[in-house]
Symmetry: C2
Subunit: 194 residues, 2 copies
């Protein structure tokens, strides 16, 4: 069924009864977006969290000098949003852009507050996936501190080759925290060696 992927995702962390599943389903909304469309933009409050059924996204910030910094990627079976904007319901600072024609399942922020009250197991689900995101973010911060640009590149290619092959290189460079020019230099160094 249409919502099987997201239900399967949730069931990895909590066991929902059939009843709970039917309570939950009305809160899901499918949304299609075309390449280069934005689902979140600075200045507007982020109203839902999005689960990627098909396609690819990036969340990025444009700084005062006009440079882009990618905070997150999402492909199939990942979530994406402007997290601060969503939980505090304040204007977003990030762009979230489709890198390909994509399909999402969205959950409205207010709806989520409702079902968290109605289905306590969903509190547990939220708690667990947030804890995991936090652990992930901490690893990334440490990786940025302790590793060189080239080491971070290698690490990403190994861990997330599925993403690396699908996103533009300028997006990858801005995720890893260096310039596109330097990414070229790194890749060039590597092809010379082999």
């Amino acid at each position: 069924m249409e919502y099987d992927p997201i239900l399967e995702y949730i069931s990895r962390y909590v066991d929902l009864t059939d009843d709970e599943i039917s309570q939950l389903i009305p809160f899901f909304k499918t949304k299609k977006v075309k390449k280069r469309q934005f689902i979140v933009q600075p200045g507007f409050v982020c109203k839902h969290k999005s689960y990627v059924v098909k396609g690819a996204f990036r969340a990025y910030l444009v700084d005062s000098q006009g440079k882009e910094h990618t905070l997150a990627f999402a492909i199939e079976d990942w979530w994406i949003s402007d997290y601060s904007s969503l939980i505090y319901q304040e204007p977003a600072t990030l762009f979230v852009e489709a890198l390909e024609d994509s399909v999402l399942i969205q959950i409205d922020f207010k709806d989520e507050q409702t079902f968290l009250r109605e289905i306590p197991k969903m509190e547990k689900f939220e708690r667990i996936i947030t804890q995991r995101s936090l652990a992930f973010q901490q690893k990334r911060l440490l990786s940025n501190f302790t590793k060189t640009a080239e080491e971070r590149y290698d690490e990403f290619i190994n861990k997330y080759s599925a993403i690396a092959n699908r996103v533009p290189q300028y997006a990858l460079a801005s995720y890893l925290g260096f310039s596109t020019e330097y990414l070229s230099k790194i890749r060039n160094r590597k092809t010379l060696k082999s």
Copy 2:
């Protein structure tokens, strides 16, 4: 009472009944630690999360070149631990060290699993504070990407002067992601200006 600070903290996010409070209290353990003592060390599984009643701590990593990188500080009314080690119950990679003689309230990881089952409101509490930590971490990552060393220093001094004045400068430099020597340079530049 001994546990008032932590109960007050929890009550900012959820309303506990007197019953729930008495259910919860047996899970708290007070612990005193001396300056330079470690409450978490690499290789050992982190067994509790700690709420700081009095004192100051830092969580840091030592990289392959022997350099230290501070992931977090905690003073009164903050929490600290090696988060990954705690939630996955795997060996820690961080040191968590007391920067002053301190007093903690600790919650054992397994005990927490128990009361999360017994007191559903605590699931909500955990969910909310984890969400906030995640939002905080994302801001920090973006700040590292978009700002210069001096801007990050200024920002920290403004937002967390209480911490900045209490922790050694090498710890602050390693939190902000640059060398102690460079921190000296920044401070020197500033005192010349004024």
